[in-house]
Symmetry: C2
Subunit: 241 residues, 2 copies
C-alpha cells in the first residue's frame, strides 16, 4: 500500500514512512530469530560456544536471506506495476475501442451519464498518460511504489544485524564458563526485551497506533517465540541428549 | 500492491495470486532459515542431535514469529487504509470546500477545464462514496487490500513449517551416529535444493517471470545463505571449540 501523504485529522503530514517500516520489521525479525536460537540452545542446555556459533551463523545467514528476499519481492512489485502499465499502453494503442469502453464503464459507475459521460471519456482518452493512469488505478487497482529495492533491502539488512545482535551481546562480551551461563541468558532476555520494546515503539509510529500497543504486541510476540523455542529445545534435549 | 485482475497481452485472467505469494515467501524463508541452522551446525562440526534440536526449535519459533509478524503487518495495512478512509469521510463532511477544491485540482491535472471541470466536480462530489474513493486513489494513492490477516498468516505458517522441515528430514529419519553425518548433510543439501527449486518455480508464477529465473534466483539465494552460515560456523568453531 502506498501513502504519499499521511492524514492526521484535517492536517496532511509530508513524511515518508516507507523505510522506517523496513527498519521495524527487519529489527523485530532479527531479534526474535536470534533470540529463538539462544532460547532453544538454553532449553537444550547447550554450551555458550554453541549459542554464539549458531546465533552468529543464523544472524548473518538469515539477515542476508531476508534482505535478498526483500530485494526480490520489492523489485517484483515494481516490475509487476511497470509490466501492467506497458500492457495498458499497448492496449490503448491496439485495442482502442475496448479501452474506451472500459473508461466509459468506469465513469458510468461513478454516476456519470449521457452527454457528460461522453465528454469525460473524451478528455480522459485524449491524453494517453492520463488514460493509462486511470486504467491502472481504477481497473487494476495498482499504485506505483516509491520504494527502491536497494534501499528496502539495505535497511532490512542493517536493522536485522544491529537489533538481531542484541540477544548475543551478553554471550560474546560477558566472560565465559558454565557457572554463569544462566546469568548470561538472563542478561540476554533483558537486553532483548529492551531492544524489542524500542523497536516496538517505532512500530506504533508506522502503524499509527498507541505506543504501548506497539511495545506490547512486539514483546508478546518475541516472548511467545522464545518460549516455544526454549521448550522445544528442552523436550528434544530429553529425547536426544 | 493490489491486483484484482491480471493482464496477459489483451486477456484478463481472473485469478487471485495473493496467497500463493505468501506460500512462496513463507516457504523460501522457512527452508533457507532452517538450512542455515543445519549448515552452521555442520560448519561447526556439532552433533546430529544439536542439528535436530536447534533446527526444530528454530523452525517452530521462527515460523510462529514470522506468521504473527505477517498477521500484524497485514492487519496494519488494512487498518491504515480504513483509518485514512474514515478521515476522508470526516473531511468530506466537515471541510467540504477544501475537499471540493482537491477534487477540482485532481481533475484539472487530468486535463479538464472550465464548465466541464465544474460538471465533473459536481458529479464526483454528489456521491460521498465516489468522492472518498477518488480521494483515496488519487490523493493518497492507497488501494484496499483483499488479503485477510488470518489467511496470509495461516498460509505463511503452513508453508514455513512444511518447506522449512525439509532440511531436517534426513537427520530425523535416516539413522544416527557420527559416521554417516556427512551423508546426512549431503542428503539435506539435495532435498533442500529440490524444495527450493519447486517453490522457486511457483515464485516465477507470482512474479510472472521465466520459470528458470525463479528457480535460479531461489537456489542462488539459498546457496549463498547456507554457505555464509557454514563458514561462520566453521570459523567460530576454530575460535571457540
Amino acid at each position: 500500500m502506498q501513502e504519499k501523504q499521511l492524514h492526521s485529522g484535517g492536517k496532511i503530514l509530508f513524511f515518508n514512512k516507507d523505510y522506517i517500516s523496513e527498519f521495524v520489521y527487519g529489527g523485530i525479525d532479527g531479534a526474535i530469530t536470534t533470540f529463538a536460537v539462544v532460547a532453544g540452545a538454553e532449553g537444550a542446555s547447550l554450551g555458550i560456544s554453541v549459542v554464539i556459533i549458531l546465533g552468529l551463523a543464523n544472524l548473518i545467514a538469515d539477515g542476508f536471506s531476508m534482505s535478498v528476499g526483500n530485494f526480490f519481492s520489492t523489485k517484483a512489485e515494481r516490475d509487476a506495476y511497470e509490466r501492467h502499465r506497458q500492457v495498458e499502453y499497448w492496449e490503448v494503442e491496439n485495442l482502442r475501442e475496448k479501452e474506451v469502453q472500459e473508461i466509459r464503464e468506469i465513469y458510468a459507475a461513478k454516476g456519470f451519464q449521457g452527454e457528460l459521460l461522453e465528454q469525460v471519456v473524451g478528455v480522459i482518452t485524449a491524453d494517453k498518460d492520463v488514460w493509462v493512469d486511470t486504467m491502472m488505478k481504477e481497473e487494476l487497482e495498482m499504485v506505483k511504489s516509491d520504494k527502491t529495492p536497494y534501499k528496502t533491502a539495505g535497511m532490512t539488512f542493517i536493522s536485522f544485524l544491529i537489533v538481531g545482535a542484541v540477544p548475543l551481546l551478553s554471550y560474546v562480551f560477558v566472560g565465559s564458563g558454565p557457572a554463569i551461563q544462566k546469568d548470561l541468558f538472563l542478561y540476554s532476555c533483558i537486553l532483548t526485551a529492551v531492544a524489542l520494546a524500542i523497536v516496538g515503539s517505532f512500530k506504533s509510529f508506522v502503524t499509527e497506533k498507541n505506543i504501548f500497543v506497539g511495545i506490547f504486541e512486539t514483546l508478546f510476540l518475541g516472548g511467545i517465540a522464545a518460549t516455544l523455542a526454549y521448550f522445544v529445545g528442552d523436550v528434544l534435549e530429553k529425547l536426544f541428549l
